[in-house]
Amino acid sequence: MSETATTTHGALAEAGVTHHGEHPSYQRHHFESVGQQFDATNFAMWLFLLTEVMFFGGLFTSYLIMRNWYYPAFVEGSHHLSIFWGTSNTAVLITSSFTLAMGVWCAQTGRKSGLVLCLWLTFFLGMVFLCIKGIEWHAEWVDQHVPGLHFTDADFINPALDPVTYNEYHDQPLSPDMATKTEMYFFLYFAMTGMHALHMVIGIAILGFMIWRAKAGAYTTGHFTFVENFGLYWHFVDIIWIFLYPLLYLISRHQ
């Protein structure tokens, strides 16, 4: 058996694979090389994002079906969202993706203080996003557009009751049975933005953890896989928003 053992060993050494005991401390023992470890974890993150696509997909499907059935209600429902805040949020989130990408570059090039700064900026922007979301949701609560808990369709039956929206869109009154379907619109609105916000909260929590570890230099000594993979996650959450924003806010602007 010793012959085959030597052959094995030699061939592996030729392949550039490190021998046990000679690998960087952050290489887990079941991986043969740092490259394999990075490859595997990166692929795993992409796969996980694929599951997230399927997860959100169910909500998007429901939204598209309901919008097709209750078109007038969905149009007028979307008129009650604030384009200003929605666009701001989009800008905030895209910027946060940029700052995170900068953070990944800092990690890759060993710039510890740059990384910490970028992570803080991303954290901050993420919090801004959530605050704006809170403002929007509060506005919906005040307008009594929270399905099941605090909802009225009065300003869909008589749009003049909400002067801000009415001045911008001059909506026609909806008949009562169509007006009740606006509750469905808002339910999907809260479900989709809520699920998105939940993912943001998780992301921000992980960012907090990463800032703490980055300060200790964990990501600037050559092992920045965590930052890269988190970057994937954050960009994905951003992309979900990039789909939500047009589908919820922009889609019926000119109707």
């Binding site: 996980f48 399927m54 169910g58 429901s62 099941g148």
Partner: protein
């Protein structure tokens, strides 16, 4: 008798189970609860799954006891409804879905690809913890009064018409679903990125192919179930009618979303079992699986086609006739790869050298029972006959044939096949063969009458039934008691074998496959050095040569 078996054990007078192995490497509860070793996690899963199997089985026993008489006299109708619901939820989500992948798959796949562990050991451990959390929630739900919606949670019944623990059960399944997703994710990454040098895709054992296909289904399908459960929970709490027609929603939307996962789920459940059968049939006929490429591709074909047939659960629900046509056609297409596998396994026997150890007996049972179960699936896939047969005991019989006669037999086959590798011990052969035969007989007696009951029109989920159905129900219950014995026996003798079984040695079955070339039980790191794969899968010539070399070099 030595010519009638391929078992080859080391000399029992001197053989010992290796002192240093994954079970003995570290001691203490924390070393198990915080382990990253895929083999330990597999062991943890095996214990938890067995517990839930017997809980689900006890529920089945109660169901069959109630059905001995036409009246609802053993338990109240509400209780009966809870019994079959909990039986379904536990058996599907807490037993069948994780059974082969989380136990045998976790244990064996890294070794089969020549790796030291799965790609993400911490995610693997997390997966087990999620499973346990789901299991504890399920036990809580049962203790708190259970749920009675049927495992299919049909809306609006589950959202607006029952006041049982739908939300807790929904959360439990949600968590179990993530357990499943993480297992599948781990497998896909491992199989893609951690194959040892020389291990090309077509040198992988077919068990790996089957689990790979099942993992794709787990990863892509389960999230849809997750969001469906979220919507149900929201609907119950907030009261929105996304599935309630009175509020503008559509109950059929729930059906589409639910079955979009739950149909691939049945392939998640069966594909790993088929992988086991490939390994077992090959080993006990000393032959490469006939048509390796066909079997490998048929696994992937089942996974792909499996995503496009979900509405065959909805043929009578008011979908358009043309939609029914499309889904029926696709269902016929998905049936073909399974047929291909059965014939390939049968022809693996051709010109082989066959022995009938316990895993092989279970494999034969699988082949017969899965053929029946699969064919009856075609009865249901044809829209015309589905009208008469759907929602009756025909369906119950069909899915028990494929899941119990198929998957559970495959699971037992795999447990018996890899038991020596897992524990270093052999189980007593005679009693295990007896248990296999008892299971087979009990199974047929339990479920074959149900095909007839279904054709006669007896609906499923009935606590009481017209008296003319009683004779067949009595047969079925009698069979269930035999089946129960058949399932209890392995628990007893396998536990016994841990202490008193014969020492197995590295390769008691003379199998190919990298896991059989290392000690039993394996070391924590599986291989001292990563092997190089220089031969094809199921290469018995290589094995013979390898064994001769061993003899020669000692």
């Amino acid at each position: 008798m030595s010519a009638a078996t391929i078992v080859s054990l080391p000399d029992q007078s001197t053989a010992r189970v290796p002192k240093m192995n994954f079970l003995t490497r570290e001691n203490g509860l924390l070393s198990w609860l915080l382990t990253g070793d895929h083999k330990r996690i597999a062991t943890l899963y095996l214990i938890s799954i067995t517990v839930f199997f017997f809980i689900g089985g006890a529920l089945a026993g109660l169901i069959r006891l109630e059905l001995l008489t036409p009246q609802s006299d053993l338990v109240a109708a509400d209780t009966y409804n809870k019994l079959f619901t909990m039986h379904g939820v536990i058996m599907v989500f807490l037993f069948l879905v994780p059974s082969v992948p989380a136990t045998i798959g976790n244990f064996v796949i890294p070794m089969m690809v020549g790796a030291k562990d799965l790609a993400l050991p911490k995610i693997n451990l997390l997966s087990w913890y999620l499973y346990v959390a789901a299991g504890i929630m399920m036990i809580y739900t049962m203790a708190a009064g259970g749920v009675d919606t049927g495992w299919t949670f049909t809306t609006p019944l589950s959202t607006h018409y029952v006041n049982t623990h739908v939300i807790t059960t929904g959360l439990c399944i949600f968590i179990a679903g993530f357990s499943s997703i993480f297992t599948g994710l781990n497998f896909i990454v491992t199989i893609h990125k951690m194959r040892c040098p020389g291990m090309t895709w077509f040198r992988l054992p077919l068990f790996v192919w089957s689990n790979y296909a099942a993992s794709i289904l787990m990863v892509l399908g389960t999230p849809v179930l997750a969001i469906t459960l979220v919507l149900i929970i929201l609907e119950r709490t907030v009261g929105i009618g996304v599935f309630d027609p009175a509020k503008g929603g559509d109950p059929l939307l729930f059906q589409h979303l639910f079955w979009f996962y739950s149909h691939p789920a049945v392939y998640i459940m069966i594909l790993p079992g088929m992988g086991v059968i490939s390994e077992v049939v090959s080993t006990f006929s000393r032959k490469r699986v006939f048509g390796y490429t066909a079997v490998a591709f048929s696994s992937v074909a089942i996974a792909v086609f499996g995503f496009f047939v979900w509405a065959h659960h909805m043929f009578i629900m008011g979908i358009s006739n043309y939609a029914a046509l499309v889904f029926s056609l696709l269902t016929m297409l998905v049936a073909v790869p399974s047929a291909i596998k059965i014939f390939n396994w049968a022809f693996t026997l051709y010109k082989g050298s066959i022995t009938f150890e316990t895993p092989m007996l279970y494999a034969f049972g699988f082949m017969g029972l899965f053929t029946i179960g699969g064919m009856t699936g075609v009865f249901l896939g044809a829209t015309g006959t589905d009208i008469h047969l759907t929602e009756t005991y025909f369906i119950v019989a069909h899915f028990h044939f494929v899941m119990v006669g198929g998957m559970l037999m495959a699971f037992l086959s795999g447990i018996h096949f890899w038991w020596p590798k897992w524990t270093g011990r052999m189980y007593p052969e005679k009693i295990s063969q007896l248990a296999a035969v008892v299971t087979f007989i009990g199974f047929n007696l339990t479920f074959f009458p149900q095909f007839i009951l279904g054709t006669l029109g007896m609906p499923r989920r009935y606590a009481s039934y017209p008296p003319e159905f009683q004779v067949l129900n009595v047969f079925s219950t009698a069979g269930a008691s035999v089946l129960g014995v058949g399932y209890l026996l392995p628990v007893l003798y396998l536990t016994w074998s841990l202490k008193y079984g014969a020492v197995a040695g590295n390769n008691p079955w003379q199998a190919t496959g990298l896991e059989w070339q290392v000690q039993s039980p394996p070391l924590t790191e599986n291989f001292p050095e990563i092997p190089i794969m220089d031969h094809e899968a199921y290469d018995y010539d290589w094995l013979e040569h390898h064994q001769q070399q061993e003899v020669a070099s000692v």
